[in-house]
Amino acid sequence: MTMDIFALFAPPNLIDSFLLKFFAPETMNYVVWPFIQIGAVATVLAGWAAYASYLERKISAFMQARLGPMRVGPWGLLQPIADAIKLMTKEDLTPDDADPFIFKYAPYISVVAAFIVFAVIPFAPDWGVITDINIGLLFVLSVSSVGVLALILAGWSSNSKYALLGGLRSSAQMVSYEVSMGLSLVGALMFARTLSLSGIVQAQGLDSIWYFFYQPLGFVIFFISGIAENNRAPFDLPEAESELVAGFHTEYSGMRWSLFFMAEYAAMIVVSAVAVTLYLGGWYFPGTWRLMASYPVLYVFVSLFIFVSKTAILLYLYFWFRWTFPRYRYDQLMDLGWKWMIPASLVNIVWTALAIFVVQALNGWGGLRTIQSLTHGVNLTWAGKIIMVAFGFGGLFVTAAVLSMLNWRSRDFNLKKHRRQVRLVNSPKGQTAVASITKAVTSDG
């Protein structure tokens, strides 16, 4: 543990030379370093997930005119630790009729699926990423799709109707939203031309633009689908406490219950981190590259800080949505997924392809130069960038038009029309209002 934290705050070369006294270089590169990184990332992220719950409680408290946790430590800062101790010492109940094997192991699947994804997230350049694999984004999608198994198995193995309904809901919901989530990423990939997450960040760095400006629609779809995939409000149907008591984790208690929560918070961090990587430039920030040559270690730390800050802002959005919106109903959620999100992401793909085609066609037309190079992703000149950003934001209107064409007769499209005003009846002082009753009865037959 101490070594992990040491690794984060000291120049890596120093540790490298220190460790090389004990291990062969090959073991060093393939075994020791990855383990140090994994340990550091897992420790820090577990802490982050715990403190995300503290932040959520604090932020929601400030939104709701109260104080939140205040008793444990100054401003309640030790609350997550107290919670962890409480949950670990609680009795771990297994219902009589539950499938004990699956009931016990489902929480582990959920936590592992959430945490494994961090292996490919580029937190910072150089040693700030555990491993940079060529299929990074696909890895993120596939591993997070395993997370749904935990929910469905937990729901089934509890042998309770509420848990079963929660499990069924969650599986249907996650499978549907995975589609729009995956499709929304394609637009950004057309610019980056790689699935490697570090590669995507570097492509944005070389193009000196965040893909959010090329892909505003893609970002919105990805983030909404991500919220739905994480089962967070307003899409928290699998655990909708007002209908299904607690959904799939109704029967869980103690540490196993908290593992689900830990996985939820970790999955939120994953979605935020992937959104930052793809759309918000990862660890890039205007001006920080000046540090790269002279202070490489400081540069890594500054990049790490930038990445974490961007992720934290998206996490705040999560909290904000949760404490503002009411909850969707199950069928409305499916409508939103299949009738709005998936068509929108398909339109986004076609529109982005069209935009890239137009920008390429315009290159060299009338002396206009739009493309700088195509070696590492699509690098555009200023003229090309302006056209592309115009296309990106124009795409919002195009998609709105397409979606309204598809849905103009549906109930959700016409909801605002149903906004009504109440009628005010004022009979004179002391007189009866019975006359209006007979009217109502006769008019209704």
């Binding site: 393939y30 694999i133 749904v148 079963l164």
Partner: protein
């Protein structure tokens, strides 16, 4: 391909776990447990794909099979209560000699198939040595694929180099050479989806779905074909 060091260690770990989990899949008495072991098998095989340098296939296998197909499997298993066999019913189906015979026959088939497959593929590898003078342009696409795979596997799975860029190759071969079959398959799937929705969705559910604007529903209320009340 020659495995060495950690690679061979991971190969044996995943190979054994794939085989054991596959055995448990057919041996488990509970259908949900079977599905779980099948998931383990699929994940182990995905890990073997990574060792082969085919990460894209590995990723897609986990995404599609574990995240999609197996979820639907579990969905069905949960809805269909498969308790009767577990409770000891259906013993009249057991026929010892036939079972043993069928198993032996299957083993022989498997053995022969494996041997011939290994022979064939090794012959394939030997048959196409890359001559030094031959440039990549002169090679057929297949030859280039083989060569790149061999090169790409030199330092796989341990992360020193970008392992291989097979994603691009999968994409290129799927959309360039296999464009038409790909589209036909997708249309076929679409037909299957539309058909199953049409078969499964009753008029009652259509009416309960409540996803039409009230005025539209009133407008369509006479329309029998939509089944909307």
């Amino acid at each position: 391909m020659i495995l060495s060091g950690w690679e061979s260690f991971f190969f044996w770990v995943f190979a054994f776990s794939a085989v054991i989990a596959a055995l448990l899949t057919v041996m488990a008495s509970n259908a949900v447990h079977s599905a779980l072991f099948l998931i383990s098998t699929l994940v182990s095989v995905a890990a073997l794909f990574v060792l082969l340098g085919a990460e894209f296939i590995a990723g897609v296998q986990v995404l599609v099979y574990v995240g999609g197909v197996m979820v639907l499997f579990l969905f069905v298993i949960m809805l269909v209560n498969v308790g009767t066999e577990e409770r000891g019913g259906g013993e009249e189906l057991y026929n010892r000699p036939a079972q043993v015979g069928a198993s032996l026959f299957f083993c022989v088939l498997l053995f022969v198939g494996l041997i011939s497959a290994v022979n064939l593929s090794s012959a394939h590898f030997r048959a196409q040595p890359t001559t030094p003078g031959q440039s990549i342009e002169q090679m057929s696409a297949e030859q280039a694929l083989v060569r790149e795979t061999e090169q790409g596997m030199v330092a796989s799975a341990t992360g020193t180099s970008k392992i291989s860029s097979d994603t691009e190759r999968v994409g290129a071969s799927l959309y360039r050479y296999g464009g038409l079959p790909f589209e036909i398959a997708s249309v076929l799937l679409l037909v299957a989806i539309v058909g199953s929705v049409l078969l499964a969705r009753t008029a009652k559910q259509e009416a309960a779905a409540d996803d039409l604007a009230p005025e539209t529903r009133a407008e369509l209320s006479g329309d029998e074909a939509l089944g909307i009340k």
